[in-house]
């Protein structure tokens, strides 16, 4: 995991909404590489008893970034990552990040792009917008937030995007009519959603009911691994037994025990960590495996999923 990490300095820390804090990173050594719209990095957070690793979308202009920006929402049920970022990270600190990777790139052949952001889900679109403007793409940004908690950057977005910007502050009683929004989409329109699970599901359900092909709907939600009951992972190749505590993910517990598992997003999206299950029943919490694959219970994504049984034997 530490191979190829980039050291960055925290150049600035700013509160951009009541519960959202923005961090700007500058390089310690070589210039930061350009990246593609929608890319994310995984930030390593060396906590007291445990190292957290969370994926965050990059917000800078991707073409020639002078710095990498991320925005972190303080999670109500944080296992520690967002609390660490909000309370421990100060200007001048040095952190390690992965090189940018992308699971949420725009479909550039689309006739039109409708971007739907919920709360801190605005972040990947912050890197879409400069490239969309450069290409003269047809797009709209619909931004749903609660001004008492989120809603970062809405003033500057309104100013920069003008008629392409639509905002909905649910704390002010403003609602987004998703059906009407989808109905006005001309053929060839692609929809991008980033926000809470509830928003993604609502838009997907509406789109499905209206017959919008699945290939035109794109979404990204990094599900931070949620706590669950403790269990034991058995590593088939070595016979090693690794205890997974209530607050640790299976992936984190394996890494702490020195067992390497290929991974990228650490949030149930990319599918890199999928591992064969030899014994025991997994509790699937990912967004990668299909319903059929999940029902076979012969593989699991250790980044977010857990176990129904007291132990799980993995083909590692």
């Amino acid at each position: 995991m530490s191979e190829g990490l980039i050291e960055v300095r925290v150049a600035s820390v700013a509160d951009v909404a009541p519960k959202i804090r923005e961090f700007r990173f500058t390089p310690v050594a070589e210039a930061l590489p350009p990246f593609s719209p929608g890319a994310h990095v995984v930030v390593e957070m060396p906590g007291a008893g445990k190292t957290y690793r969370n994926a965050y979308s990059l917000m800078s202009d991707p073409f020639n970034p002078e710095n990498y920006g991320i925005a972190v929402r303080l999670q109500d049920e944080s296992r520690g990552g967002s609390v660490f970022m909000h309370t421990q990270v100060k200007e001048g600190d040095v952190l390690r990040i992965t090189p940018p990777a992308n699971l949420f790139a725009p479909h550039w052949a689309a006739k039109k792009h409708i971007l739907l952001a919920g709360g801190v889900g605005i972040t990947p679109f912050m890197s879409y917008l400069p490239e969309m403007q450069r290409r003269g793409a047809d797009y709209e940004l619909h931004y749903l937030f609660r001004s008492e908690q989120t809603g970062a950057y809405r003033d500057e977005l309104k100013k920069a995007l003008g008629e392409r910007f639509f905002s909905y502050d649910s704390d002010a009683g403003e609602k987004c009519d998703v059906r009407a929004l989808l109905a006005q989409g001309a053929p060839g329109t692609h929809i991008y959603i980033c926000g809470p699970e509830s928003l993604i599901h609502a838009v997907k359900a509406e789109a499905e009911a209206m017959g919008v092909p699945a290939g035109f709907i794109h979404y990204e939600e990094f599900a931070a691994p949620k706590p669950g009951k403790p269990f034991t992972v058995k590593v088939a190749s070595s016979g090693q037994e690794v205890a997974v505590s209530a607050d640790d993910s299976m992936l984190e517990a394996l890494e702490a025990a020195g067992v390497e598992v290929t991974n990228m997003c650490r949030g149930g999206v990319c599918g890199q960590c999928v591992t064969r299950v030899l014994e025991g029943t997994p509790e699937h919490r990912d967004d990668f495996l299909s319903a059929a694959e999940k029902s076979r219970n012969d593989c699991v994504m250790p980044c977010v999923s857990r176990a129904v049984t007291d132990s799980l034997t993995l083909d590692l």
Binding site: S36, A39, N102, E131, M264, G271
Partner: protein, 340 residues
Amino acid sequence: MLRVAPTKLETFRDDFTYSNSREAIERFPFPFPEDEYSYSVNIEPHTLPGAAGSVNEHLFDIDEHYLSEMAERAQVLKENPKRCLAMPHMELACWDFIDRAMTTMAADYPDYFSLQKNGEQWHWQNKLLQLDDTFTFGDSSTLPCPPLEYMGRQVQGDIALLDQRDGDLFLDAGIVTCPADWSLAFDAGMSFKEWHGPVPMAHEMGVFERALKYLTAIPLGRPVRRLNWTLTVNARMDTSPETYPMWGVENRSVTAENVGEKVYLRVELQVLDRMARSNALMFSIRTYLISMNDLVTNKDWARRMHRVMKTLPEPLIEYKGLTHYHPLLVDWLAQYDPAN
């Protein structure tokens, strides 16, 4: 150091004057790790720089055939401009390719290439092809021809740029003038599984699902490579479906007497490298040709070549187009295998 012979142009057609120096033979990427043929995806990290002098040393390998291959490419493009295609949404990926190629080539071969960046104003010199160009990075109107063609005419090997969307890869741009019997114009726009459709046996093995999962996750700055191989009769670079009438008949020209000079092992060093701004994957296919006569100067290669050819499954013999001369080749190679 560098084995560039900038004076004499060799040909890959008509009189076939292509030949390998002793050094080129020694650095040839012999592709068989075992005596028995076995199919594997065999992808490994392309850690740079690789072993000094080897074909893996640099991202773009420039060798003694540079001028000859660039002349051959120009000839193919003249005859058929559709060997270079880029869909409009791939323009940024083409510029990513220019950035990656110019930046690494100037650093890896400073005697031959130089790059100066002044903001978005770039100054590129290719002393081998005597080019000296200044342009605005990202602005295609400032180049003498479209960006992929411009840089593609300056690197050995074919280049495909794969757009990545919905966990799949699409062949949406490329410059392909030395393919092992595939057509860019035919495959353009296809998904990963579509363009691998004709490959026998591998589908049942789930090879493509695993490969796709791996490829879509290739991170920035961590390229991977694999070797692919086939056989070609005569040192012909352009074995494409478009020119099949030219070379298809040559498969029947192999005899027991001329195997050593007619049959070439054709090895592709395939490298996949993530493009920074577009998230596209660059797929470079660098082709190396070696005659059987030159190959058997290495006793280990000669013996192994015989054993691999002998155990090659029938569907692969057919897929690779070796049917006409495969038995002749196995018989000829047998003399180099002490087990026989």
